[in-house]
Amino acid sequence: MKAQHSSRPRSTFDGPSISAGTLAWLAVGVAFAALRIGPVLNAPVAGAELEHLSGAWQASIGNADARLIPTLFQSLTALSFLFTTSELPARVTALVATATIPFAIYGMRPVLGNAGALVSLVLLALDPFGILLGGTATAMGFDLAITAWLAMVVLRRADLRWGWVGAGFLVATAGPLPLLFCGAWAAASLTRGVRRPTASTGLLLTGFVLGVVFATARLGAGLDGLVVPPIDLIAASANDAWATAKTVDLVALYGLPLLLPGLAALLWRLREWYRTAETPPESRTLMAWLAITGGWLVFSLADNSPLPAAALALPLALLLGPAVARLVGAAGRAEWRLAGLLLAGAAIFGGIALAYALDWARLEKVGNAADQFRVAGFAALMVAILVVIALRRETRAALAVPGLAAGLALLLAVSFASAIPGEEPLTSPYAPEQARALRDAAIAIRERDGGVIQVHPSLKEATTWPFRDSGDLFLASRHDPAAAVVIWPAELPPPAGLQRLEGNWALTRKVQTPTNRVLQGVHWLFDRNTLAVRPQPVAVYTRAKP
């Protein structure tokens, strides 16, 4: 040992060394967590989070509310409201759980390969749906973390022994994502002809039953039949408006950079399967997972929920990671002298065409015939060069580089849209700061003038979150003389004898999706402030001064 040691070249740095690979893992892990800090601190309370925080708040003060779906996370959120009125502790809890995902992915290296796992983590870090889900306080706050850890355990064929009970409990008290993974795992196992349930299956089911019992107790809010939160949340994702935009629009705006290469990787994997006729259990599970989450997304395209897209992102990233790593490796072996020249040419022509297209997108109008001809010409030249590269065996692999670069650029664009919260379709409808300001103003008037705060019943749900911790509210569809402040739908005639409080008040705001889809969508990609925001206006009335 000594001789060996002495034969190595002496390092000039005597301190603790760290490999480039470890550094990369550390950097991506830190970036993974860092990208989620923005939503934790600044994202508006929107969509599913608005609904679930409202439900948790109601549970914390003992009000029965259908928006309470007692996942473990929502239960903890309700618990946190015993100490605070802020959503921040719940969001931090979600972030802490989500921040463990890099460790789970790190644990998948034996299955995905070191580079593949690392790339998978990069993709997960940049997934805009995952960024939002992991940094906000929806009832599904633990979903990504539980699913990732479960996937790690299953794909590595690890045995948790009694830990399976805990896993089952977590699956039953989480949102849909872990249950979908379990469904895929079961489907993959069943198609392999697994005949007898193993002890671990029994323990998992025991934990699941315990979780259902926990959820059925509904935090002491009274029994109302069996409650299986993941199933209730699948239903809520279909029935409720967790986003202003349709799921298909959300996928078009935020999901394509992951979805399109993911589909290509899927086809590639299926081709390999067909050729080798070998189906290792890990591949089966991953494919079944993709099939289930993909199927859910297809069935949900007309709904208003980002959750199915978030569900699909996880298996897609695990599929894409190794594929991208292989692609990068292959690209390194390409004949770069020729390929580089050709790619530079393609980049120039493509860049010119793109410049025109971006200008059209800025104006949201296609240019004149001459411009269109130019763009078509440059695009054709670019395509021709790419075809030439593709046709030559020694340069073909180099095509991966522009493909990956374009994909990464798009992914970064949509990731930062999610990580740096603004007025985004992904976080719409949301409760604006102004809604809380309205609550403060109403309380001030009530304290000054006496009486009650009256709210129209149609605004009941919209006021739950911004008007939390405001004492008693009087809900009535007809003006009550005891009301000091009346919050009324703007479209209804004003109550007699009251005066309107100045200001454009709104309890929620909705960010519109691009209407002229392609051009407005491209415009939105490089200028986030192009989309219209529509408030749900309310009128505020106070007693007329004598």
């Binding site: 198609t191 002809g193 109302d224 699948i234 239903a235 809900l475 009535a476």
Partner: protein, 801 residues
Amino acid sequence: MSVIAFWAVAMLVGGLALPIAFVLFRRMPDAGAGLAFPLGLVLVGYGYFILRVATVLPQGRGGYLVAIALLALVSCAVAGRDRRFASTFRRSVPALLTVSGLFGMLFFAFTAFRSFTPEIGGTEQPMDLMYLNATLQSPDYPPTDPWLAGEEASYYYFGYLQIGVLTAAANVPTSVGYNLGLAYTFAAAGTAIASLAYAMARRILGSRGQRWAVWAGGLAVALLLFTGSLAAIFEWGAAHGEANAAAYRAFDMDWRISCDLDEREYCYDGPAGDRTDAWYPTEFFWWFSLTRIVPGTISEFPLFSFILGDLHPHVMAIPLVLLAVGLAMAVWQGRSRLSLGSHRRPWFGLLLGLVFGALAFQNAWDVITFSGLLALAVLARNARTGGLRRALRDSALFLGPPALVGIAAYLPWYAGFSSQAEGIFPYIGAGSLPTHAFLHFGPVLVGTAVLFAWAFKATDRRALADFATISLWAPLVPFFVWLLVTTGRGELQDAIDGRGGGGWVTLAVFAAGAWAAATATLSLTAGRRAAAPVAAVAAAALLLLYGSELFYVGDVFDSVPRLNTVFKLSYQAWILLSLGGAVAIAVALEGAARRRAWSGWLAVPAVLVAAGGMLFALFAIPNRTDGFEGETAIDGLAYLARTDPGEYALTRWMSENVDPGDVIIEASGRTWRRGQDGRLAVTDAGSDYTDSGRISARTGLATPIGWYFHEVQWRGQSAANRAEFTRRQDLVDGIYLAEDVSAVAAKMREAGARYLVVGRAEQTRYPTETLERLDGVLDVAFESGNVRLYRLPEREVVTTS
């Protein structure tokens, strides 16, 4: 897009059921691919039903998706355990492609037809829409009855639930799902019968007869879905003024000839001469009257049902009924003895229980007939390997557990279902005329006649005589029972006289047919011949026709006692005769083509008569679609958007904004007017087949009372029921007629209602002075044109900390 989505979901559900179909129907040439659609849908439907009852699944679309995912898991388990799955799949690829193509063709063809006449408005269609909405919108399960707020639905609604699965998963409105549900039923029925007929013919003819087996499949589809009454030919002639009075009289069709000057009864009293300006009869709904030619009953057939477009249980049940026939055939084809020990692997028994139990839940009339067919198949299989006594014992032991499952699995439904059946009674009245029976059943009965031409050929004469003696009891026993009961009731003479000469002839023909078919079944079964199921199917059909001439199930229709019995049993017979007849004709034609067998040539006139029945489709379809002219749509409420946009907007608004558990008040159906003395009085009390309960039907929201007499049909005609229904009508009318509007809110609370509708129906049925004063006491929740939706004023203190 809605059409494609619905079709894709149907394909998905059928596809997911394939591994299970492979295991059940592996001996069939297509390995059960043609039966996978009803199999998948019944399993998803049951899963959804039972998990909703257990409150595991919540209301809404997501629950349906979970139920479909569960079927996928079950299929994975079955495929994983089935060692022959891959080989069966590879062998079935051509069949899968054929079945998919046939399903798609029938689905899209029917959708195209229906798009010319998509309205959900006439006959009992509002009721069908109501039940479809009830299964989708009900906040609790078993679903509540939207036309009797607060009460569980008391009807066999499983068909609606299954169409609801496709509607919800495809994310289409129910008014679209209704029409596409009809298209699905049409296509699933077609693929199922084609699959069965092909399998039966292939088994008889062997691989050399594949071409003729394909013909059998095609002919079965044609007989089931495109064939109707021969009376259409008479209608066509009469419409063109070319009626030969003697011929019409010979077939008792003279009621379609224009009346003479001094004649007004049993003749057409419209204008004489041509009554059409097209090549087909254009008189409104002429084809409807041809299903009412047998006095005192309805004689429908599937083609009529699909042209009419009522999404009734007996229509939606066709694919399930064919699945049940397929299972019976699969049981018959098996080799090992079936007994209690066969349930050591419980899956097959469980599945039998679920499917045959579903027959009662989907259309209660089917469960006895097709369970009987299954029992016969089990008995025939067991009789091959032992004596009759042992076969009987083992069969009973084998069928016991599935029967228990079939009842236990649907207990939540049975608990809320009150049957209107009052017992089985001997029929005393005019029998069906042989001419009418021929016109109606001729096109499907002739195939059975062809069966008799070849079924007995290989049987020894002495053995045949023995079989004939035994099977004579099949028609004799029911007849003796009928004779005994009518004698006991002192009604024998009335029964003999009342039936009439024609009625006795029809009875005798059906009895002879049933006897011959039963003899064929026995002889073919004993000879272990592949044609035995064909004969058994024909025998069952003829016994149904024969039995419904002798007995009826008593119900609320006292004035037309056998209406439902003949209607429902002859419908089953039509399905069976389509199947058996198609196979019999194809086998006979193969004999004629290959061996110049004389019996084969008998098939030629049979085909001609069947083709005559297909003229019904040729003449009635253009009539129903106004010659395929006019606008097309697939939304069954699109007509409402044109004729009453305000009410259409109200319907859509309520579907999206009103909580499924809320009760609404709308017109009870009774019309009120002020008399000369100034007092309000009911001028029209009929609520059934009117716009009573219309909003409830279109949205699934509950209202205190909908169609009064239909509730009587579903719940029985007890004094208590009638009193309760009348009380509800009074309560609703009291709200609209309140002199003191301040009492309106209290009355609404008494009815448990939150909303009150004022639309065209309310404005025409109640004096308008009260309606105009409602503004003072209720909030306006929605308004469009002359339509208003009122809501009870709300007052509530909520705590926020």
